[in-house]
C-alpha cells in the first residue's frame, strides 16, 4: 500500500531525464503562454483591485471616476459604518458556523453517495443516479419547501440552512466520475488484504482522492458561505441570519429601497457594495492556498507492489 504525499513537481519530472531538447516552436509557445497568462491575470485581477480601492476611497473621487487600483482619498468610513454594528459580528459568526456544519454534512453525504454510485456492478445503480439527476431539473417550489421545513420544526434553527441544500447533484456526479477513475487494482489489492468495503473506502480511496475532496470542500464551502436565500426564507430572527443577509439588507437600505420617508436611507457611501464584497470575499480567498497544497497526485501506478 502506497501513499504519496508530496506535490509532484511536474516541472521536475519533465526535465529529467530529458531526451528531447526544447524545440524552437516550444520556446515560442512558452513565451506566448506566459503572455496569455499574464493577460488573463491582469484582466481578472484589475477589477478586484479596483473594487478594493473603491472600498477605501472618498465618494467624490469615485463619482469623478478617478479611482483605479489605488484608493483616492483614503478613508475607512463606509467600512466602519458596516462593521460597527454589533449584529454584523453576530451574523458573521453565524456564517462561519453554518458554513462549517453544512460543508461537513454535505461532504459526508456527497462523498459516500458518489462512491456507491461509482460501482458499476451495483444493482439498481442507474435508478439511484436517475433519482439524483431528476432533482436537478425538477424542484418543489417555494411554498411546498417552506411548509416542509416548517413541519419539521427547522424554522429559525441551524438545520434550515444546512440541511436542505446538502447534496448538490452537480458535485455528486463529478465526484462519482473521479471515483470511477480510481484504479481498481488498488481497491482489489486492499480487498485481498482483508479490508471490508468500509475499510477500502476509508483507508484506501479517500486518502488517495485528496484532490477531488479538497475541490469539493472548496466548492461547498464557498457556496454555503455566500448563500442567503434559505436563511432569508426560513428564519425571522435577525440574530440568526448569516452575514450575507445582513449585508444585502444594508445595500437595500442604502439605495433607498424604503419608501422615501426621507432620512430613511442609510447614510452610507455609494461604495458600500464594494465594502461588502471585500468583507465577504477575503476569508474565502485566504482559504484557497491551504486547499491547494492538497492537490496531490493520488496515485502512482508504477509504485504498486507486485
Amino acid at each position: 500500500m502506497v501513499t504519496l504525499d508530496q506535490t509532484p513537481d511536474l516541472a521536475a519530472v519533465r526535465t529529467e531525464p530529458r531526451t528531447i531538447k526544447p524545440t524552437t516552436s516550444y520556446r515560442i509557445f512558452t513565451v506566448a503562454n506566459v503572455i496569455i497568462l499574464i493577460l488573463v491575470g491582469v484582466v481578472t485581477l484589475y477589477p478586484f483591485l479596483n473594487l478594493t480601492a473603491r472600498a477605501f476611497s472618498s465618494q467624490a473621487a469615485i463619482a469623478a471616476g478617478q479611482v483605479f487600483v489605488w484608493p483616492v482619498g483614503f478613508n475607512l468610513t463606509t467600512l466602519e459604518t458596516v462593521v460597527q454594528q454589533e449584529r454584523f459580528w453576530v451574523n458573521y459568526g453565524n456564517t462561519v458556523v453554518y458554513t462549517f456544519v453544512a460543508t461537513v454534512i454535505s461532504m459526508i453525504l456527497t462523498t459516500t453517495f458518489a462512491y456507491v454510485l461509482s460501482k458499476h456492478h451495483l444493482r439498481g445503480r442507474s435508478v439511484l443516479v436517475g433519482l439524483a439527476l431528476f432533482t436537478m431539473f425538477f424542484a418543489g417550489g417555494l411554498i411546498p419547501n417552506y411548509l416542509l421545513i416548517s413541519e419539521l420544526g427547522f424554522k429559525n434553527t441551524l438545520w434550515a440552512v444546512v440541511v436542505p441544500q446538502a447534496i448538490n447533484v452537480f458535485n455528486l456526479l463529478v465526484m462519482k466520475s473521479f471515483f470511477e477513475n480510481f484504479p481498481a487494482e488498488l481497491e482489489e489489492a486492499a480487498a485481498i488484504d482483508g479490508l471490508s468495503t468500509y475499510g477500502i473506502f476509508l483507508r484506501v480511496v479517500l486518502p488517495l482522492s485528496k484532490a477531488i475532496i479538497a475541490t469539493m470542500i472548496l466548492f461547498y464551502a464557498v457556496a454555503f458561505w455566500n448563500s442567503w436565500f434559505p436563511a432569508f426564507l426560513y428564519m425571522d430572527d435577525p440574530d440568526l441570519y448569516p452575514v450575507s443577509v445582513f449585508l444585502r439588507n444594508i445595500i437595500a437600505g442604502a439605495s433607498g429601497t424604503g419608501e422615501g420617508l426621507g432620512g430613511d436611507a442609510v447614510q452610507i457611501g455609494s461604495n458600500v457594495k464594494a465594502v461588502t464584497t471585500i468583507l465577504t470575499v477575503l476569508p474565502i480567498v485566504c482559504l484557497y492556498p491551504f486547499i491547494q497544497k492538497h492537490f496531490v497526485s493520488g496515485v502512482m501506478l508504477g509504485s504498486v507492489k507486485g
Partner: protein, 556 residues
C-alpha cells in the same frame, strides 16, 4: 454550477402567490356586497374596550400580545428596549410577537408568508397593489369598518370614499387599510442647478416647452457639459425607462406613463383607453425624443444606473436630473464632498403640458403604504382589541402623533413658535437645529418615525408638514395649488375568469410599451412609424384587453 433552484423558486412563488388571489374571486363578483358588516363574537373580544370611538385613547382592558410582521430597516434595526415599544406596552397594554424580515426582500417574503398562512397578525408597509393577488390570505377589512372609527372618520372627512372603492376586489371587499393623506404628496420632479439658472437669468419653467428652451440656453452657456440633462430611475420597479419623470410629466400630457402606467389604461371621461396609444402619450414621447435629438437629454439616461446618473450631476457634467425630496439631500451632500460650494440645487415645480397643469391620478392620490391583517387574526381571542389598536395607532390623530413624534417631554416639546420640535440631543434627518454634536436619532434610538408603526408620515396635513423642510413644504403646496388631479375612473374589479383571460396580454403589452417608449425617445424607432407600433400592440391583444377592462369597470 448554476443555481436553478432560485429560478424555479421565484417562478413558483410568484405563480402560486397569484394563484391564491386569483381563486379568491370566487362566486358572483357582480355587485360589491358593501353592506356586509361582520360581527365579532365575545370569544374574540378579549381586551377590547367597550366604548372605543374617535378621540378615545386605546388601552386594552387586559394585556395582550399581538403578532407583528416587522420590516427590518438597516438604518434603524429593531431594539427590544425602544421607547416606542415600552410606551405601547405601558399605555396601550399591548406587546408584540415579532416576525422580523429584512428590508432587502421584504415583498417576496411577505407574499410567501401570507400564502402559507404563516403571516403574523399585523402586516404593515403594504400597498394595495402589493398584495392584490394574495388577498385570500388576508382579512377582508371592509367587513369590519364598524370597529374602526378613526379610519372611517378620516375617509369621510377627507372625501376618500371613491378612491377607497377603487381598491375593492371583485368580491366588493378591500383588504388593505391604506395610509391616508389629507393632501396629496407629489414628490418627483426635476432638480436643476439653481446657480446656473440664475446666472442665465432664467426662472422656473412653467411649461415643458419652456424647459426645453432653457436647457438650450444652459447648453450654450456651459459648453463643458456633456449634456444639460440626464435621467435616472430606469431600473427600479419594472424594467422601464425614465419611470419617475415620465409619471410626473404624464398627467400634464393627459395620459399615464412611467410608474403611473400601471394597468395600462387611462380613463378619458367616458371609458378606459389604452394609455400607450393615446394622443397624449405620443406627445409625451415626442417631447422627450425632441430633447434627445437636440442634444439636450443624455441618451445614456434612458438606461443608466442611479449611481452613475447621480455622479454625473454632482461632478458637474450635467445641469438637471430627476429628483425627489429625499435624493436632493444626496445631491447636495455629493456636491459638498466634491468640494463644490457654489452649486445650488433646487427642485422645480413640475411644468405644465398640452393638457394643462395636471397630476395623474396616482401622483395626486391620497393613499400611501398601509396596513393589512392576516386572515387568521379573526380567530384570535384578542381580535376586536387588535382592530381597535390598529385603528388607534395608525389612524387616530393621537396615535399618529405618537408614532411620529414620540412622547411630549421625552422626545419633543412645543417650542416658542408653537411648533413641535425635537428635544436637544435628538435629531431626525437633520431637522432639529438644536440637535447638538452627536445626537440620538428619533428612529434609530427610540423607534419613532418608523414605517412599521407610522403610516403616511402622519396623514394629517399638520403632522406631515411638521417635519418637512420649508422647500419641500413649498413644493407640495405649490403643486397642490397649481395642479388639478386627473380623474381616476371607476374601479376595475376583475373576476378570476377575466384575469386569466388578459394575464398574458397585459404582461406582453406592458413590455412592448416600455420597449417602444425607450426606442422612440432614443430615436432608434421613428415616431413617424407610430401606426406600425399601434398595429404591433393590436397583435399582442390590445383591443381585447381594453374591452375586458371596460367590461369589468361596468362601462357601457
Amino acid at each position: 454550477m448554476k443555481i436553478r433552484y432560485k429560478v424555479l423558486a421565484l417562478g413558483a412563488v410568484s405563480t402560486l402567490a397569484l394563484g391564491l388571489a386569483a381563486c379568491s374571486g370566487g362566486g358572483g363578483g357582480d355587485k360589491p356586497a358593501e353592506g356586509d358588516a361582520a360581527q365579532i363574537a365575545d370569544a374574540q373580544s378579549v381586551g377590547a374596550m367597550e366604548d372605543f370611538e374617535v378621540g378615545t385613547t386605546f388601552k386594552a382592558t387586559e394585556p395582550i400580545e399581538v403578532g407583528l410582521m416587522y420590516r427590518d430597516h438597516p438604518n434603524y434595526p429593531l431594539k427590544d428596549d425602544w421607547s416606542i415599544l415600552q410606551n405601547i406596552e405601558k399605555n396601550q397594554n399591548v406587546t408584540f410577537d415579532i416576525q422580523s424580515i429584512p428590508l432587502a426582500d421584504w415583498g417576496t417574503k411577505r407574499t410567501q408568508l401570507i400564502q402559507t398562512g404563516d403571516a403574523n397578525d399585523i402586516i404593515p408597509s403594504t400597498y394595495v397593489a402589493d398584495v392584490q393577488n394574495v388577498t385570500a390570505g388576508l382579512l377582508p377589512l371592509s367587513d369590519y369598518l364598524d370597529y374602526m372609527p378613526n379610519f372611517t372618520d378620516k375617509v369621510e372627512k377627507w372625501g376618500l370614499e371613491d378612491e377607497l372603492d377603487r381598491t375593492r376586489d371583485a368580491d366588493g371587499k378591500f383588504y388593505v387599510l391604506p395610509g391616508l393623506l389629507e393632501n396629496a404628496k407629489p414628490d418627483y420632479t426635476i432638480a436643476i442647478r439653481q446657480d446656473w439658472w440664475d446666472a442665465a437669468g432664467l426662472e422656473d419653467p412653467k411649461t415643458w416647452d419652456e424647459f426645453a428652451e432653457q436647457l438650450q440656453v444652459i447648453k450654450e452657456a456651459h459648453p463643458e457639459l456633456s449634456f444639460p440633462y440626464t435621467e435616472r430611475w430606469n431600473t427600479t420597479n419594472n424594467n422601464q425607462p425614465m419611470a419617475a419623470i415620465l409619471q410626473a410629466a404624464s398627467g400634464n400630457f393627459g395620459t399615464e406613463a412611467g410608474w403611473g402606467f400601471g394597468d395600462g389604461v387611462t380613463w378619458n371621461g367616458d371609458e378606459y383607453e389604452f394609455s400607450g396609444t393615446q394622443e397624449g402619450f405620443k406627445e409625451l414621447l415626442t417631447y422627450f425624443h425632441g430633447l434627445v435629438e437636440d442634444g439636450l437629454l443624455d441618451p445614456d439616461g434612458i438606461t443608466q444606473d442611479d449611481d452613475t446618473a447621480k455622479a454625473k450631476f454632482t461632478t458637474g457634467k450635467v445641469a438637471a436630473i430627476s429628483s425627489n425630496s429625499q435624493v436632493i439631500t444626496e445631491y447636495r451632500s455629493g456636491f459638498t464632498e466634491a468640494g463644490n460650494a457654489d452649486a445650488v440645487v433646487r427642485n422645480i415645480v413640475v411644468p405644465g403640458g398640452p393638457a394643462g397643469d395636471v397630476m395623474d391620478a396616482t401622483t395626486g392620490g391620497h393613499f400611501e403604504s398601509g396596513v393589512a391583517l392576516s386572515k387568521d387574526a379573526a380567530d384570535k381571542p384578542y381580535f376586536k382589541a387588535l382592530l381597535q389598536y390598529v385603528d388607534w395607532l395608525y389612524f387616530s390623530d393621537e396615535g399618529l402623533e405618537f408614532a411620529k413624534w414620540g412622547v411630549k417631554g421625552e422626545t419633543y416639546d412645543i417650542n416658542a413658535d408653537d411648533k413641535r420640535q425635537l428635544l436637544e440631543g435628538i435629531d431626525w434627518n437633520g431637522t432639529n437645529p438644536d440637535a447638538g454634536a452627536e445626537p440620538k436619532m428619533l428612529n434609530t434610538d427610540f423607534g419613532f418615525y418608523n414605517g412599521v408603526f407610522l403610516l403616511a408620515h402622519g396623514s394629517t396635513a399638520d403632522l406631515v408638514q411638521s417635519t418637512l423642510n420649508p422647500e419641500v413644504a413649498e413644493f407640495q403646496a405649490t403643486m397642490n395649488e397649481r395642479k388639478e388631479v386627473a380623474e381616476g375612473g371607476p374601479a376595475i374589479p376583475l373576476t378570476e375568469v377575466q384575469r386569466t383571460k388578459i394575464a398574458v396580454a397585459q404582461a406582453n403589452l406592458t413590455g412592448a410599451v416600455h420597449t417602444a417608449t425607450a426606442q422612440f425617445i432614443k430615436g432608434d424607432r421613428d415616431l413617424a412609424d407610430w401606426d406600425a407600433y399601434v398595429t404591433e400592440l393590436q397583435g399582442l391583444g390590445m383591443d381585447d384587453y381594453v374591452a375586458t377592462m371596460n367590461e369589468a369597470a361596468g362601462v357601457k
